[in-house]
């Protein structure tokens, strides 16, 4: 058993800790005294959950619901973005001239416009032409009850579904461009010798790609992709501008109604942080374990 090195506090560490603590204290002191901000933290837990006075059961309130929508939205856009990005990445690495051009055009366009602009353009122009014409919301409304509840659990209720799908697609297109580059890098990172070895064993081009290159490329890209997922969670806050009821939107609505600006912003910040920080810890835990095995 190897013992961990003992943690020793140096003077510099102490100074940094003290400075951080002083910063936090100063913030609250200034808020309370100078700006005369009246903290009302006791109201916050009720916005997560409350006990229904009629039925006596607990039900989720705005912040918890918004947190759920943020999760759903991130997962959907990551799945769609992964499919899109993988296609584009393979095309960019191994496609012909035309395929490479399409892939580059997609990646360069999307990476060079702000995500906010993309989300708004998609919602007002693309989705009102296609999604609204599809009549998705009317279809959901006509579904029998268990199916309708399923759709609203995995996607969104009838009133929100167009905005939700539009947001998920826009985010997927945005994240897809980054995933495309990760995948392309992963494929290009597999050394030429691997291709040559596979060919010399009699594998065809397609077989080599599927059986030799892709598995290695995916092992290389697994952790960057996981990092991109964390990014997606953070990026999802921008879809509040098209009124998707995710965490930031719910927070803004709550602030508009209650004027508890700082309490709610701090709570939202903590929620995003807890989610992304725990995910990134989990990822680096697996990264270390896999690194040892290799």
């Amino acid at each position: 058993m190897s013992s961990k090195p003992a943690i020793r506090l140096t003077l510099v560490d102490l100074a940094v800790l003290l400075a951080a603590a002083a910063g936090v204290v100063l913030f609250f002191v200034r808020m309370t005294q100078v700006l005369e901000y009246q903290w009302e933290w006791q109201a916050i837990p009720g916005y997560f959950m409350f006990r229904d006075p009629e039925t006596g059961r607990f039900s989720a309130n705005m912040l918890l619901k918004g947190f759920g929508v943020t999760l759903k939205l991130s997962i959907w856009s990551m799945v769609l973005g992964f499919i899109l990005g993988t296609f584009s990445g393979i095309m960019g690495a191994k496609g012909g001239f035309f395929g490479r051009m399409v892939s580059r055009f997609y990646v360069e366009t999307i990476r060079n416009i702000p995500s906010l602009v993309l989300v708004i353009l998609f919602y007002y122009f693309v989705s009102s032409q296609f999604l609204d014409a599809l009549g998705l919301d009317q279809w959901v409304r006509r579904l029998p009850d268990p199916a309708a509840r399923g759709v609203s659990f995995f996607l969104a209720g009838a009133g929100q579904i167009n905005a939700f799908v539009s947001a998920a697609c826009a985010l997927a297109i945005y994240e897809g461009a980054y995933i495309s580059e990760i995948v392309r890098g992963g494929i290009n990172g597999v050394s030429k010798g691997q291709w040559e070895a596979a060919w010399s064993m009699g594998l065809s081009q397609a077989q080599t790609f599927r059986l030799v290159v892709l598995p290695q490329a995916f092992r290389r890209t697994a952790f960057p992709l996981a990092g991109q997922f964390i990014s997606t969670i953070k990026d999802s806050a921008i879809v509040s501008v098209i009124s998707v009821q995710e965490l930031t939107f719910q927070g803004l609505e709550l602030m508009a109604a209650t004027f508890l600006t700082f309490e709610i912003w701090i709570t939202i910040t903590l929620l995003y942080f807890l989610l992304t920080f725990s995910l990134s810890r989990t990822i680096s835990f697996f990264e270390k374990r896999l690194a040892i095995r290799q």
Binding site: L35, F50, N61, G159, N162, F249, L252, L254, M255
Partner: protein, 275 residues
């Protein structure tokens, strides 16, 4: 020869109604079929665009929508025999959202202005609102008239895209305007003492001043504008306009609107619902 030619033309003109793709009668039928009122009946749901404005529309402690507009929209849905579905929308994008069909009607305390009316149709007013103001005690000390605020050293915060923004531009052309996406951000700026005043629809500024009496005050005793408030719908829909107008006439007559206005704007009984 000339006479024959004219006769031919006249004859042809008479035939036109039979060959033109849409005659007046058909056009009427088509309009009626495509009316949003028809669509609401078919889908059994009315989708209402709104945005949080205290106390017009807001979420209560349990995440349920409450407010003056919400009561109006619920009653409208009940009278139409359909469900109501609220679509909370950022105020700055609410008109494009209506125009692109994200919902059927805006019932959101929207002031009827000539500029907005070029893009959407408005019903007759179901309520009147006015601009009011809340100011910072220290920063705006001694200010008591509109002219006191019309000064290049004065900062005024308003919510973007509202009639408050227009009123502030009109009444305080020399002051600096700070625009915010939400009312709460504008008020936060005032509480922090970064602006002299916030302009907004009554009665919110007065309520806010009552909440922080040591810090804020109401400089003007009366509202300084009077604005008609109507439902907004997409253009080219005479049936919906007629239906909503007559619904509003009925609600004025039955006293429903007056009663709701008294509850939401003249009392503070509802405050316990929210916090």
């Amino acid at each position: 020869m000339k006479k024959l030619f004219i006769t031919c033309i006249m004859g042809l003109t008479l035939l036109v109604p039979f060959f033109s793709p849409v005659s007046a009668g058909e056009l009427g039928n088509q309009l009626a079929k495509e009316s949003v009122v028809e669509k609401i009946q078919r889908d059994k749901v009315i989708r209402v665009g709104m945005s949080t404005f205290v106390p017009w529309a807001m979420k209560d402690k349990h995440g349920k929508l409450v407010g003056f507009e919400i009561d109006v929209a619920r009653q409208l849905a009940k009278d139409m025999g359909v469900e109501v579905e609220f679509v909370p929308t950022a105020w700055s994008g609410i008109i494009p959202a209506l125009m692109t069909g994200k919902f059927d009607v805006i019932i959101g305390g929207m002031g009827i202005t000539p500029e907005r009316n070029l893009k959407v149709n408005f019903t007759m007013p179901y309520d009147y609102s006015g601009m009011s103001m809340v100011a910072h005690r220290k920063k705006a000390e001694g200010f008591s008239t509109l002219d006191d605020f019309n000064n290049k050293d004065v900062n005024i915060a308003v919510r973007m895209g509202t009639t408050a923004e227009q009123a502030a531009r009109k009444f305080f052309p020399h002051a600096n305007l700070r625009l915010f996406e939400n009312e709460s951000q504008a008020l936060q700026e005032l509480n922090l003492g970064r602006v002299h005043a916030v302009v907004s629809s009554a009665p919110m500024p007065v309520f806010h001043a009552l909440k922080y009496p040591d810090k804020l005050f109401v400089p003007l005793k009366e509202n300084f504008t009077k604005e008609p408030i109507g439902f907004a719908i997409r253009k080219g829909d005479p049936d919906a306009l007629n239906y909503f107008n007559n619904w509003i006439v009925n609600m004025h007559a039955s006293g429903f609107l007056k009663e709701k206005k008294a509850y939401w704007f003249e009392s503070t009984e509802w405050e316990d619902l929210v916090k």
